[in-house]
Symmetry: C2
Subunit: 654 residues, 2 copies
């Protein structure tokens, strides 16, 4: 069989198209592979999702935003018609348009679909037409019949929207030469610098995002003013510049403690994580080691004590926020999809800055169990929140129904606050960026996915690989060298933290691997194959005893996948709340999931004292009748795909 090296398709025809990617720090030798350097296989776990994203999700989002008038908001500004038309959507609906444009721009780095190119150009034109003379761009403030610009920094989301505009422009600018969107973004960024620079207003936005937008645009355009402005916004945070916020308090928008002093992430999870991502960008570009160390410390503390098994972040619905240490209720886990996306953004930046594999481990956990959980298989419906337990099967959402946030039914096509669909879209569109990293002559396979890889080595030459795997269903990752320089290079394969007993099989023999990076450093020959064998058999996972909400429970994971039980898999209309697991009986693989031995308990009538009796008694837990059953556990990321159901990740131990 003849193997042909894949040729990156530089659809964006600029010179940097193959290497284009999110997050390009000004300093540091480590870089993510460009979107044109990695092609995800269409039948792989991620490649198929990326394809669905391109062929279904993007248009789905456009259709909804046309239908709801969020796109027309730009036309109204362009036509000076803001006074006569009631503006639909929340203050931040512009950002959904920008995130979708970012998705399109990344998508076009690896495809050259004319319809997508045309769509992006059309959107760019509509957005550009709404830009004010002085560069301000926003459809909610500052025009006839609207409140004044920046009159509600706490809740107005103006700079938040601008940040997303900048991210979209960065995506476009890195994948396409001299684009209008970059011009628009430059003018908008200049307006922000004038309004909020050292001589401007000492303010910050209630929702962080402008920081990383400015930092990335500063990188694209090599414009230190933008980096400085990003640094200024990061530095101003936590100093009480935002007004009082009813009921929640300043930690909601991270205005209680300066970024470099905070010990953990608090308040609204997406806000906290976007801010952290911007802080890393600033810290790396300016060489601010203290700031970088602060974010790393916050990551440690938050992952140790405030992160759900899925990688999901956010334990509270009230403020979509982090809870206290050890406050990790499975049923009320919020784990907003956007917080998952934002967590990937932070961890990815920290990996680039440090090379620490733990960050990549969390990226994997979060991608498989939060980001992949949100979209339905057809890419036309989404989860907003991702709890680890569902006590009551929710509603089967209609295809035309705008949903609230955390209902627990099936996935919804759109939301009142619809940040998640476009966030998923831009993440999937750029997913291959997180798969491979390059540092000098070392190429690291970070995420195990079927992909064709051809990366330019910093010291010259290219390394081309064909990676084939059924991971995460199967643990074998087959890496074939297609092309390599005639000098020693390093191929590094990530062994996830959970992978006890992984092996690397080469022609020369088999090596047992420890978690971390397994490195092969030698001259690689075209045609040779390496096989990474990861133990993805299902395994028990136990919670720290300080997590009150999980006391007496156990979960099952298989490779990077968190598994769950769904009532729809139980016979006789029984509920997952009736299950008690027997961990002594072992756990077996079963078709991408697991089979476990459990006890199906007969629940007594409520209350030991009869109807209306409280669920508390003077004697210990009653002996309940039950019978042994085998229970099928399935990947959490596909829960509620078949129908509304109750669900549990953590199950009580017999």
């Amino acid at each position: 069989m003849t193997q042909t090296a894949p040729t990156p398709s530089p659809a964006g025809s600029g010179p940097s198209a193959a290497g284009a990617r999110p997050v390009v720090p000004r300093r540091g030798a480590r870089r993510g592979a460009g979107l044109g350097e990695v092609t995800l296989a269409a039948d792989g776990f991620w490649g198929s999702r990326q394809r669905t994203n391109a062929t279904a999700t993007v248009q789905h989002c456009v259709d909804w935003m046309e239908r709801l008038g969020w796109l027309a908001n730009f036309d109204a500004v362009a036509q000076g018609a803001t006074e006569e038309r009631e503006r639909p959507g929340w203050q931040f609906s512009d950002s959904e348009v920008y995130k979708l444009m970012e998705a399109l721009a990344w998508e076009l780095a690896s495809t050259s679909e004319p319809a997508a190119e045309e769509l992006l150009e059309r959107l760019t034109a509509r957005v550009a037409a709404a830009q004010d003379e002085d560069g301000y761009l926003g459809t909610c403030f500052g025009h006839a019949g609207q409140e004044a610009r920046y009159s509600d920094l706490e809740h107005g989301h103006e700079l938040y929207c601008t940040g997303h505009l900048l991210q979209a422009a960065v995506a476009r600018g890195r994948t396409h030469p001299d684009d209008d969107l970059v011009t628009v973004a430059r003018r908008a960024a200049d307006e922000v610098c004038r309004s909020f620079g050292p001589d401007g207003r000492e303010g910050v936005c209630g929702h962080p995002e402008i920081e990383l937008g400015l930092a990335e645009l500063g990188r694209l355009l090599d414009e230190p003013r933008y980096t400085d402005q990003a640094a200024l916004f990061v530095e101003r945070r936590g100093r009480g510049l935002l007004g009082p916020i009813p009921l929640l308090g300043p930690s909601y928008f991270q205005d209680d403690v300066p970024v470099r002093e905070a010990e953990a992430w608090t308040g609204h999870a997406v806000r906290a994580l976007y801010l952290a991502a911007g802080a890393v960008d600033v810290a790396v570009d300016t060489g601010d080691e203290e700031l970088l160390a602060a974010v790393r410390r916050q990551w440690d503390r938050t992952v140790e004590r405030r992160t759900h098994l899925t990688g999901g972040m956010g334990s509270r619905h009230q403020d979509e926020g982090f809870g206290e240490d050890w406050e990790l209720p499975p049923d009320r886990a919020y784990c907003e999809t956007c917080a998952g996306v934002a967590s990937v953004m932070v961890s990815w930046r920290l990996f680039l800055a440090t090379g620490d594999v733990r960050y990549v481990d969390l990226v994997e956990r979060t991608l498989f169990n939060v980001v992949a959980t949100s979209p339905r298989s057809d890419g036309r419906a989404f989860f907003y929140a991702n709890p680890l337990s569902q006590r009551v099967a929710g509603a089967d959402v209609r295809p035309d129904e705008e949903n609230r946030r955390a209902e627990g039914g099936t996935r919804a096509p759109w939301f009142e606050v619809s940040c998640c669909p476009t966030n998923v879209a831009r993440t999937l569109a750029s997913l291959q960026a997180y798969v491979v990293a390059v540092e000098g002559d070392a190429v690291s396979l970070l995420q195990h996915a079927s992909a064709d890889v051809r990366v330019a080595l910093d010291a010259g030459g290219e390394l081309a690989l064909r990676v084939r795997t059924a991971y995460p269903s199967h643990g074998d990752v087959d890496v074939e060298v297609l092309e390599a320089p005639e000098r020693p290079v390093a191929l590094r394969l990530r062994v996830p933290g959970w992978a006890t007993g992984a092996h690397l099989l080469e022609e020369s023999g088999t090596t047992t691997l420890e978690p971390g990076f397994a490195e092969v450093r030698r001259v690689l020959r075209a045609g040779e194959r390496l096989l990474l064998r990861l133990p993805v058999e299902p395994r028990w996972t136990w919670p720290d005893p300080r997590v009150d909400a999980l006391r007496g429970c156990v979960a099952v994971e298989a490779g990077p996948l968190v598994l769950c039980a769904e009532s729809v898999d139980l016979a006789g209309g029984r509920d997952v709340g009736d299950l008690e697991l027997d961990p002594t009986a072992g756990v077996r693989s079963a078709d991408g999931g697991a089979l476990v031995r459990a006890r199906l308990v007969d629940q007594p009538a409520p209350g030991p004292g009869g109807p209306g009796a409280m669920p508390y008694a003077a004697s210990g837990p009653p002996v309940r009748e039950g019978r042994p059953v085998d229970v099928r556990l399935r990947p959490y990321h596909r829960w509620a795909e078949r129908q509304p159901t109750t669900m549990r990740v953590w199950l009580p131990v017999v």
Copy 2:
């Protein structure tokens, strides 16, 4: 020793002053004793609180409402100055004024403090002056510079405020003849009937309360139109008459299911409970057995599965609402003080309607563990939410500081949304109403409190009792008969559901009692004594295994009191999170609380995998070092009285 029968002090000099009380159903032979028929002893648990309420809390609330301008809102309307003055306070701040007036009116039923009488008259004059020509009364809508009346039924709280006005007027009207406040209320109620009657707008208020206000005013004034209007509001509920509510959905304000169809209480707890109270009033007065049965069914289901050990209701902060069945997290228990007050209102009405002792049991549990928990001992600071676990010691609130809702520090003098202080005030001011019930020739001692009782029997004559007890610290309740008719009467003593092994000691011997009512039916002689002996020694309490959040934990109760551990009682700065209880070692009484044997655990560094490792591992819970300690548990209702502290009601079992 000569015993003198107490003479009720009819401060409100109307003929019905001694028998005045909240909740006077039009039908049914059972009634609560009048406020003038029961005098709580000043040194008793409840009497001392009632005294503090009268001498400190009432003026404290007036001072805050003057300071914040909530009282001046009425003056602004009276003076036609609403356009030039920015109105302070939420839309519902009028209701705080009315609840305080209700407290004053009830207070004046048993005292004749001229300053209190003068204060109430002054408040009445200010309120009356703000009433519009057509009877509408409200300071937030319908005047110059304000939104139109009833233009925001979802959130405007206009009918909610009117409901509280009506309750205040009922309190005044039952304790004082021909008062201006009653006239004001009648005009307001007439306006409501015109606006929302059968020929008016088919609407309901986003926050129930008008229903029970109208029903009670209808009873006072013998006006069936008000009862009919209350019935109409109850019937309209749950039919989607309220507009969409962002993020929360119609169950938030009980507009998803008609009252007579609902299976359990859902949504915002105070809303649900006020509605239920109004529904019982309507059901009883109109003989609507189906409606009464519906509320009883909802009570059963909610108490079985949605009520915390303290009697607290509400498991969610997001909507201050009920959770799903079995969703009872101790740390995020909301248990709003007002929901405790409202739960007492519902259960009291159901007891009057049915005589079922379970309702009185819940009243006791809620009074001791929610209502008594809220106010600080000096009556000048309050808890708004009453969680059963506090992981992080909150702030020590300053005496001049308006607080948010659920901070977990010390009690706060006032809140942004300050419904709780005045709700506590009106409850404590009328507390003796819940202590004794009369039905024919039967007198029931429902709550065990030191009190002097002189009730008129329905069949003629009076029964006078002197009750003395250190309950709940001590289980002996000493009842002395001071005066009794010369015919057989029934004296019924409530034996709480938890009281296994209670006894009644009479001269004739000792009787072992079952939970429920212990009845002595015979001719009672002046001077004879009965001693009820209740087992208030501390005891273990175990949760139903379906309450996930309490798995593996146990609590300690003593009599009606829920106990808790506070870090402030642990040596060496140790935390309540480090405790594991050993239920095999027994539990001992200790000065109003308990001493239990526990293990003080040394917590390992977070994460089995070092800093930044997730709190999940492939092996079961680690063996942790620890040493045995005796831990003092104290009544939950006094937690955080000394200083901010961490706290737990439910503690893990070793």
